[in-house]
């Protein structure tokens, strides 16, 4: 398809900072945002988390709105990231003709946690909360705030959700359905997710250590990121940060929660994404791995990298040691990191890695590298075998 799709702006909030610059600084200083839980009320407080240290009131201020009772934390962090993306792109005047693809896993779960029992009792006085309990709420209300009305939707494919949102927005532009799309994802920390991963016994006791021999699981994080995508023919003279040059979505059809140990699903997804970008494995300068820090994922993904790239695995790292696993937001957050790698010519180190993984040959990069980055490959794998790989390229 002829029409190319460029990224003209992005916004982010995560455990390592509010906004693009704070996140970049933390990444380059190897500063992790993982630590003790302080805002979320949970008895699982011995598990470290990647928390954004701001309550809803503060987040509302940062987003430039008055806090209302229906504002979930999910929506608030999404709004902050979306607004930064729009501002960076300078696309304000085109908002009314833009589309929006949002994504998340459990909607306004922080509100559900507090009000669900009351709502289902039938005599709820908090009936205004009804509207924020589903997946669509956050994205739809961001659209309302920004004046976006057409081609709005929400994707929910677990931990690959926002990677799929980026892919879908790109395809909407390539197919001529829209010229500009705001795409991304958001997920706030909730007792739901922490307890969920704890019930699966894959929550790390010590903080996630992607690709480390002694890794013991994921660290739950929270965050949001949005990208402004524009067709090449409408960008004009505004700054371009990169191109969405390749993508693939595949299902492993293997197991509801686990990835196949041989990494075959990941291999096929990466190879398909490479093919769609007309790039060779040797053209990739940096890989932002999914790297969750679970026993199964890192072996499976590590073996897949060996298979796809052979003896020449490019510089790669997982950035989940900084942010924790931000679930639906992870794909978009890591897209922002990938674009920063391209824009600033750096490769971010994999932190919390002390012992090499025996099951894979290649080693993640553990020091900050100044390095020209033309093409970045970013992996996102989710429950249900939902694998998505995105490729971003320098223009």
């Amino acid at each position: 398809m002829a029409r190319r799709v460029f990224i003209t702006g992005f916004g982010i909030i995560s455990a390592i900072g509010n906004g693009v610059e704070e996140n970049f600084k933390s990444l380059t200083e190897k500063r992790s945002g993982i630590g003790k839980v302080s805002l979320l009320e949970t008895s699982l407080s011995n598990y470290p988390v990647g928390e954004i240290k701001a309550d809803s009131e503060t987040l509302a201020k940062m987003g430039g709105i008055e806090l209302s009772t229906i504002d979930s934390r999910t929506f608030l962090i999404g709004l902050i990231a979306a607004k930064e993306a729009v501002q960076m792109s300078g696309c304000e005047e085109y908002l009314s003709s833009m589309g929006l693809v949002g994504s998340n896993t459990v909607g306004g779960m922080d509100l559900n946690d507090r009000y669900y029992r009351e709502l289902i009792s039938g005599n709820g006085t908090n009936k205004d909360k009804v509207i924020s309990f589903d997946c669509a709420d956050a994205g739809e209300r961001i659209a309302n705030h920004l004046g976006i009305t057409r081609n709005i939707t929400t994707i929910s494919t677990a931990c690959s959700s926002s990677a799929n949102a980026i892919m879908n927005g790109t395809r909407m532009i390539k197919n001529g359905i829209a010229d500009r799309m705001l795409v991304g994802g958001m997920d706030a920390l909730s007792r739901f997710s922490i307890n969920g991963f704890n019930s699966l016994e894959i929550l790390s006791q010590t903080g996630c250590k992607p690709f480390d021999k002694n890794r013991d699981g994921i660290t739950a994080g929270e965050g949001a990121a949005f990208l402004v995508l524009e067709a090449e023919d409408v960008v004009g003279s505004r700054k371009i940060y990169g191109e969405v040059s390749g993508y693939a979505n595949r299902n492993e059809a293997f197991h509801a929660t686990a990835s196949s140990p041989d990494g075959e699903g990941a291999v096929q997804t990466m190879e398909k994404a490479l093919a769609s970008s007309y790039l060779q494995p040797s053209d990739i300068d940096y890989i932002n791995a999914h790297g969750t820090g679970t026993l199964v994922n890192d072996i499976s993904e590590g073996r897949a990298l060996d298979k796809v790239f052979g003896d020449n695995v490019p510089l790669f790292s997982s950035t989940k040691g900084y942010t924790g696993h931000t679930f639906a937001a992870a794909g978009a957050i890591e897209a922002v990191f990938s674009l920063l790698a391209i824009d600033r010519g750096v490769v971010f180190p994999n932190i919390a890695l002390n012992n090499k993984l025996e099951e894979m040959n290649a080693n993640p990069t553990t020091e900050l590298c100044q390095h020209p980055v033309r093409n970045v490959l970013s992996n996102s794998f989710g429950f249900g075998g939902s694998n998505t790989t995105l490729i971003f390229s320098k223009i």
């Binding site: 009804v130 057409r150 709005i152 994707i155 494919t157 197919n175 299902n251 989710g382 075998g385």
Partner: protein
Amino acid sequence: MQAYINSTGIISPQQTYDGTFFAAPIVNTDSMILNAMEPVYKEIINPVLLRRMSHVIKMGLGASNLCLKAAEGIRPDAVVVGTGLACLYDLEKFLLSIDDYHEKMLSPIPFINSSHNTVSSQIAIMNKLTGYNITYCHRAISFESALMDSLMLIAENKADNVLAGGIDEFLHNYYTIFNLLSYWRKETISNLSLFEGSHPGSIPGEGAAFFLLGKEKNEKTLAKLTDVQTFVTKCDVSYLKNEIDNLLQRNGLERKDVDLFLLGRNGDNQHDGIYLDLEKILPETSCVAYFKHLCGEYMTASSFATWVAANILKTENIPDCLIKKAPAQSQIKRILIYNHYLEKEHGLILLEAK
């Protein structure tokens, strides 16, 4: 963009799972809930897998299996699902267990099943479909989003055949929560009298409808899916008219070229106004029909409407149970479905005879 509807599989409150089109007597009940009439799942889903599935997952897998069976061997290259509330049953089960068990010793099964993409990924696992797989969850335009993606996949030559579906289940707590918004009818009525008088509230329903969308038509093709548009805004009929005209114009059509307008009116006088206003500006020559008295109100009810439309185009006949207005001797070659949810999310789906 276009795709042919080459097979369907549907589980709905009417007897539809057997592949017939309103052949059995129409369900007319005053139970104030339209529950799905379901096949024996053990006959179409592996019992070993069945044991961990909640009702919505069974419906989704059941309907998708019926659709694939009807397609006689065509394997889809992609699975695209739209579901408004997805696996809310498991989600709330896990949510409530957090307090019930004080964040200790929780069963992971409802957590796993609560993932909104459970149905699309279980379809992949059951049928070993390793291609494209995605789930859209955006209230009443979830199914429309799934159709839009399917049309793109076919236009991009990424898929020759796409399995696309809409699924939502009735849940007691969903009823309770939305009752707080006066969403349901208070007085007891039968579903077939949903449109009598002017009252607040509708009747809840549920269902799963799957479609095998193909790049090429074949001897079993029911209809052609031509276009989809969604918009999200509180709007009046003139805004709606513009959206309809836009969609028709880009397909080289005018309103008078649409033979049947299939409307998602749900009998709730708080939100039915825009349907009634629309009817006033539709051409004299066009038919108008409703469908929610047959399937009830749920977030992916437009997937039921799409199944109805595809069968009307195939049989060239509008069943009496749907008709609001049918001018004499009208031939049905083109159908536009319009549906909204609380007047915020709006979806348009255009279908044509093959």
